[in-house]
Symmetry: C2
Subunit: 431 residues, 2 copies
């Protein structure tokens, strides 16, 4: 590939990811030139405060607080957006695409919400819109889904896509920490925000799940289509049960296509200890893909952080630059085709259920009657504790979510059941 003139990049945002990108572009300039077929140069950087000192080797003159001006600048060939949030990112990206400038973005929130509309604008104007960094940070996920599995049919994707909650669950599982203590430690280490809601309630994972489902199944799926349950209710008792039953508790994003319907959900799950996702510890992310031809595939790595995210942005940037140099447009995901979302009540899985019960003969008989009444079949049962501390732990066979909910409602009215404690779906078991 011959090297032509420079490809000039307008960078929107220079926080953690933007600064890391500027550093990598500088440090690996030769490598990037060889691979892109042109020198990639950051010529304009839009920031809120141009006076702030930044750890990047860029002349002060490139900084401006006029983001729209960077997008419109005739000396900017490609726009990289790492501001985050919906506006003004959305308007800036749209303006760039309409000006026929390729866009690379790491913006999970925006792509989850407005991806399909932005893809359409990019296609109309024949330019690249790349967003590998928006899901699972540095892990190459969207490109393999788009290209390597281009001829395969994806059945299901299971993802550990939130590093904060995976860190918390790892501490609970391995150190016996409570949720509160593990969260406090994650906050102390900077893994969790002061307000951890977006992570621990599964909002962050739900946005990523929506993007994964959109790409995997070629259908527009938004955050509101995702059933969502966080990890705040997971107890150390559940962790002990999981270990003794051969499971590990993980917050999973699940996206699957069943009978022409799409189901996307985020919830804690019991994952068999021998499943590759069970070995994903601390703040690492991983995405496990089940497809017709390729079988099982897992992609593992750093889901967040300045450098890993910058690495993903850079991969996209080199791609966009190479396409620009070659006068080509990169691969797209094809046109999205709407598909029905399966109601969560129709989704099937085995369930783990922990109940506080009276410790006397006949209890199991009373409880198992309710399971039977709603057609939920019990696979295993184990008593833990005795007397006032008696609890029963059930693992069911595969059951419809609606039937399980009905069973639990009924159980709450059985007098020997003092309390229905945890209910956690089992995912990843051959069944």
């Amino acid at each position: 590939m011959t090297v032509v003139g420079d490809v000039r990049v307008g960078l929107l945002g220079c926080g953690n990811v933007g600064a890391a990108l500027a550093r990598v572009v500088d440090e690996h300039a030769d490598l990037i030139t060889a691979r892109a077929g042109a020198r990639v140069v950051i010529t304009r950087v839009a920031v809120r405060d141009v006076t702030r000192a930044r750890d990047v080797k860029l002349p002060t003159s490139v900084f401006t607080d006029d983001a729209a001006g960077v997008v419109a600048d005739p000396e900017v060939d490609i726009v990289v957006e790492v501001i985050g949030g919906v506006e003004p990112a959305r308007a800036l990206i749209e303006a760039a695409l309409r000006a026929h400038k390729p866009v690379v973005t790491a913006n999970k929130e925006l792509i989850a919400r407005d991806g399909p509309e932005l893809f359409r604008i990019a296609a109309e104007h024949g330019v690249d819109l790349l967003f590998e960094a928006s899901v699972a940070g540095g892990i190459p996920l969207l490109r393999p889904l788009r290209e390597s599995l281009a001829g395969d049919r994806i059945r299901r994707v299971l993802g550990i896509v939130n590093g904060t909650t995976n860190y918390i669950l790892t501490r609970m599982a391995e150190d016996g920490a409570s949720f509160a203590d593990a969260l406090a430690e994650a906050q102390r280490l900077g893994y969790a925000e002061a307000d951890p809601t977006a992570d621990v309630e599964g909002f962050d994972a739900a946005a990523k799940a929506a993007i994964i489902a959109t790409i995997a199944f070629g259908a527009p799926v938004g955050p509101d289509d995702v059933f969502r349950e966080g990890i705040t209710q997971v107890t150390d008792d559940d962790m002990r049960s999981a270990r003794s039953l051969g499971y590990v508790v993980k917050l999973l994003a699940v996206a699957e296509e069943v009978g022409g319907e799409i189901s996307v959900r985020v919830h804690p799950a019991m994952v068999p200890v021998h499943h590759p996702l069970a070995a994903v510890r601390d703040s690492f992310n991983a995405v496990f893909i089940e497809a017709d031809a390729v079988g099982e595939l897992m992609l593992y790595g750093r889901g967040a952080g300045g450098n890993p995210t910058a690495s993903a942005v850079l991969g996209d940037l080199v791609d966009a630059a190479r396409n620009l140099v070659g006068g080509a447009r990169g691969a797209t995901f094809g046109e999205l085709v709407g598909k029905p979302i399966r109601p969560v009540g129709d989704v099937e899985s085995p369930f783990y259920v922990l109940m506080e019960v009276a410790d006397r003969p006949g209890v199991l008989h009373a409880i198992s009657g309710e399971f039977a009444r709603f057609g939920v079949s019990i696979k295993s049962m184990e008593q833990r504790g005795a007397g006032d501390d008696a609890r029963l732990v059930f693992i069911t066979h595969r059951a419809r979510e609606a039937d399980m909910v009905a069973t639990l409602d009924a159980l709450r009215h059985v007098d020997v059941v003092h309390r229905v404690g945890s209910v956690i779906r089992v995912v990843g078991e051959d069944d």
Copy 2:
């Protein structure tokens, strides 16, 4: 993307992979058309015996025993080679490239040996030569290395790239089977060949390691540049030691760039039980990548088998078809630049060493003196068994391979050492 005329494929070989490819192309025709921007049609298939019945939905008229004729046929736009072996595959691929026809191949042996020369011919003629399926079957590996990590600097790649040996080692570790029994079981299940040499002696992994190193470091690396040691010497005693010390034994392909030199080797390794590679069981493959920006990355899946390999071939085929339709040439790995191969004696790692010794005072003193003499530092020591069955298990700190070899040679002449048993490198530990 608008759909133009058909892209016509000439398939060389219709064994396991070729037949699986033909089936997937048929079953997922709509998906492939949408993604490639054209219908992909297999118009010619070269086989040895045209009379043999095959489980594919292709008209008998497309079969021929004239492979060169398929390559030369003006009605063939892309050539897919799944014959395997060096010749005639090499000559056919070269002829296709010189006729400006993109080539997709799954041929590990050929690419490991003649890759750099074939890449040059492809570049000269401005056509795609894609070979994702040649390493780790269905796992997207080469495309992420080429594209997603295009701007990153790769430091080291650790791979479990041979499913047969991983299956054997898993059986030894989990069921306590001996090497011979585990091999026999692998043969019974069809995972191992009647002559298992290529797998158990590491030749298959070495070819893949050469391709990985070539792509990861942009330098021509051939099979002869790979230091190679198989798994036939791994004992159940090593497996027990590994477990008690917190390791799992894996056959690893290791490719790294250190101080401008490249080191590529295949050998059994003690992998810490918490390392993601330790969770790669049975016949699965995985490749663990360490790079500057992205940090740690692992890609996991099926390394062999008709369908997974066909999936990788198909990903390349869609890529090549899309480029053909768009009049573009796909991404390349850039020009290869020769780099020195680091002599294996200069490679450093910690070592596990098991020795049969006399069981009496002063033994450790005599042995540790030899370690000290060659500058090899001991990290831990444990006695196993007693009396005639006494063995010492050592884990060293990081040491030069040449120093370790000198230590072992010296130890063989120490009278309290009855036998130096196993020596296994430790890989993947923070040190």
